[in-house]
Symmetry: C2
Subunit: 370 residues, 2 copies
DNA sequence: GTGAAAGCGCTAACAC
DNA sequence: GTGTTAGCGCTTTCAC
């Protein structure tokens, strides 16, 4: 470790009384192809280890005009769905021999654009735009820079998108809630069910549509006051549910909570009620969090297939350029949990499961109750 | 967008009938310093926008021998403490005009090393090693590559470390648990309290030491069977608690759960018990998760100050090289939650709270282990 | 089998 | 005020 700079192939070449090109090919693994003598190669490798050589990937990238990086932007990391998505993305990137760079953008369009530009400047091979607030502007930036990209979680109209089958997932979740409502109170004929949380984005629209579609089919008269698209923030969902409660004088018979964030607010409000009252309500949540399984009332959850989504997205990026902006739907999985949720038999009745290219979505069995 | 390649400063220079250096200085913001005419600058900027120019950061980095990247390795993203740490890291990086790259390593030493080497090869300016299983080997790799770095969450002996004040946090958490035990059952004289979860790593040792220290002071005879360092995995913690329960024929009077991962297993077991039994146990958890607040029994949690830790780490990296491997302790925060947790008055009695945050971080020698 | 040389896109010293 | 030039560390013909 002589001087104060990193060792380069030239340093090694000098010490090995060889040339930079020989050293380079030894050190990047192409030496067999170049028919370098094994002894030369070994000598060079030894020196490289001794001097703690590490290749300068910026130089290599510049020369080869490829970086080996693959980028993903994501709204935030502190939300289980997104952190799972990020982990799946990382894993898949490595399998593709790419180096993953995940950056969160806090749902800020300006931040999203700046981040995309930065990643492009770092010459990423491809870009995953997950949950972007304005995917089409980002697509435009990518297009002009000729960077392959794909939307994930929220669709755009200028690039392929891979998203959960929100409609089907909502149909099935709603069906499970309805079944549970009926088993909780078989006598009642006119029951109410609220949809809480979400923003006017594509996913919420699809989930709402699935919700309504299932209810229509089940013979419900959907009252507009049931639909509380309050925003994703927990306090908004909490306020919305409080409003519903005040209006009805009780909880609705069923509750479709749109996202675990909204669920936080819902849980906070439910905490203020007697447990029996809470247990008399059939509760479902679109999205999954482990801890929801430990609440003292049962919750049916929809879990999105992050691995499937990521796999599809990579498939699209690797395949030939597709025309238009197809939307690939990935089936979701339903999970029923919690105390007293002994209604296995009902789950999945209303909406039939579909198989998928990725692997069939499954309905898992509820955990053992007390 | 004429040809099929990205525009470079040469393309723009040609179109502007100017030179590459002029274009470069206009586009990287140093043109005022170079006294370039405003009109020239504007003309160049216009062309740059029109051609969707984006600087090649690999080339810039190569030339300036700095990348503007700052890296962090982290065990996994799907754990709330780590995802918070990653978010705080990103935020701080941006404030420092650096581009954050977070990579998870799944607690695999080989993966950690490979990732550190990869980040070094990308010429990161500095490296945050968070929760590394083998920080000293990584330090050695960094040292040989002359890359500044700092350990976070788990300390090493070859570089500065910024970690939570696990000892103090455990003392205070234990104190709060003891207070609650006493208020739940003021009569009893001989009570038991279990420590569940964790691995034989530095943090667990410190927490155990704090646990014992507090109990000693409070007059408890610590029984070895109370200490269940079962591993972090939830099922191990679950099994450990089940064992304790079987042995005692009931829950211990107090429970110190080491990490939210272990808590998952604990919660799963507690679910199988009658609620009254659970509520008769004073429960604390070292680490915080929002959903634990919504359980139907109160839990006192210790929340680590991720922003403080990250701020300290950046401070160290920016400051002059420090000799040795100091350990900076960042105070934790205690949060009491849940129904029936009206024992606020007790919290913090046993161990006094300290004015916290970054200012109060202090340097110590590593503590003795248990 | 191996070396010399050009060049990836950019910056910074030095010209003029 | 602006252009010329020499690299940053690497890969990749092409030459021998």
């Amino acid at each position: 470790m002589p001087n104060g700079k990193k060792t380069t192939i030239y340093d090694i070449a000098k010490e090995a009384r060889s040339s930079a090109s020989t050293v380079a090919s030894v050190l990047n693994g192409t030496w067999q192809k170049r028919r370098i003598k094994k002894s030369t190669a070994e000598a060079i490798q030894k020196i490289a280890v001794k001097r703690a050589y590490s290749p300068n990937l910026q130089a290599r990238g510049l020369r080869k005009s490829r970086s080996g990086l693959v980028g993903m932007i994501i709204p935030l990391l502190e939300y289980r769905f997104f952190s799972s998505l990020a982990e799946a993305f990382e894993r898949a990137a490595r399998a593709e021999q790419l180096y993953p760079v995940v950056v969160s953008t806090l749902r800020d369009p300006a931040n999203e654009q700046a981040t995309v530009r930065a990643l492009i400047s770092h010459n990423v091979e491809a870009l995953f735009l997950a949950g972007a607030t304005d995917p089409d502007t980002l697509s435009e930036i990518c297009r002009r820079a000729r960077v392959k990209h794909v939307n994930v979680d929220l669709p755009g109209s200028k690039a392929p998108s891979v998203i959960s089958d929100n409609f089907q997932g909502a149909v099935r979740l709603t069906g499970a809630i309805v079944n549970r409502m009926r088993s909780l109170d078989p006598a009642s004929s006119r029951q109410s069910i609220s949809f809480i949380g979400g923003a006017p984005d594509y996913n919420t629209q699809q989930r709402l549509a699935g919700f309504r579609s299932c209810l229509d089919e089940a013979g419900f008269q959907v009252d507009p006051s049931w639909l509380q698209v309050s925003g994703y923030e927990s306090y908004l969902a909490e306020a919305a549910l409080r409003g519903v409660y005040a209006q009805l004088g009780k909880l609705p018979d069923g509750l479709f909570v749109n996202s675990t964030t909204a669920f936080e607010g819902v849980a906070r409000f439910l905490q203020t009620l007697p447990l029996d009252e809470v247990r008399a309500c059939a509760i479902g949540c679109f999205d999954w969090d482990l801890y929801i399984e430990f609440l003292n009332f049962p919750v049916i959850m929809v879990r999105q297939n992050v691995h499937g989504m990521i796999a599809e997205a990579y498939r699209i990026l690797k395949g030939p350029r597709v025309p238009g902006a197809p939307i690939i739907l990935v089936p979701t999985e339903m999970i029923a949990t919690g105390k007293q949720s002994s209604d296995e038999d009902h789950i999945g009745h209303v909406a039939e499961q579909r198989a998928s290219s990725i692997g069939a979505a499954r309905t898992t069995k509820p955990r053992r109750s007390v």
